[in-house]
Symmetry: C2
Amino acid sequence: MKASYSKVSTPLELELHQQGRRLTPQRKRVLDLFQRIGGGKHLSAEEVHGKLLQSKSRVSLATVYRTLRLLVKMGFLNELELSEGGHRFELLSQDHPDHHHLVCVNCGRTEEFESEQVVLVGKQAAEKEGFKLLESTLNVRAICPKCL
Amino acid sequence: MKASYSKVSTPLELELHQQGRRLTPQRKRVLDLFQRIGGGKHLSAEEVHGKLLQSKSRVSLATVYRTLRLLVKMGFLNELELSEGGHRFELLSQDHPDHHHLVCVNCGRTEEFESEQVVLVGKQAAEKEGFKLLESTLNVRAICPKCL
DNA sequence: GTGCGTGCAAAATCTTTGCATACGC
DNA sequence: GCGTATGCAAAGATTTTGCACGCAC
């Protein structure tokens, strides 16, 4: 009997194919990287590029930029602007919903936290103006104990 | 009788002199611009430069950048990162305290709102980790009615 | 085989910096 | 007059783009 196994399709693959796009090793590697390091980490384009070079995968910086923007548009990643010089990206996943950032403006140390209240306030603000809410992020700028 | 009038010292001038710095026409023009356009507007460095050229004041782009960073450090301006490409700045004034942004990710329309609750949450988060709070801003990313 | 995606290098942005000059104090 | 601030132009940093080739489908 002919072995009929079905290749598991990842959400990434499905989503790409729905849009007539392709699952390339590069795209897989970028998303894999974020999934490997987990939900709370913030990487810049340069860092993604560097980490992929280390793990013997060859992805050009231009492709990293293109892929990051693609993954953000497709909802797999979240783009952050925390004034650490350049934008950063993080994994957006179900078990890591709306969350907020406490950033030390001196050393860049970042802690995350969640708050149901804040989500609610964002929702109300959006509703009041007739906007459709996508996400809300609270950025708390502060000085960490070490830098004080 | 000799006219003895006292030149009014602006907060900017006082603050600068306290630090051994100087009140230059350039610095005055940049802060004036923000005060003229009012509290809720977000300008990029390029825009500040452009607007100052229009009004026949000559300020170099390098000075605009240096002045913006200075004014932020001195607490006259607030630096925003709303993913509109490049950082933006807005006037920070007493009658316009901690406030938040509701941004349409499609057309860039931005509404502001305030929330005592959010300020409180930020404060608690900072305290919990031993950080000294500077400010907290809630960014709500959404789609405005027109773009829906 | 078709045409989307990649790599490369060049270009476009955005921001900072070195240095001689100008000017606030 | 002293020393900070400015302007200019060059350098840096970050991100985008054009084009020929390669590979996912």
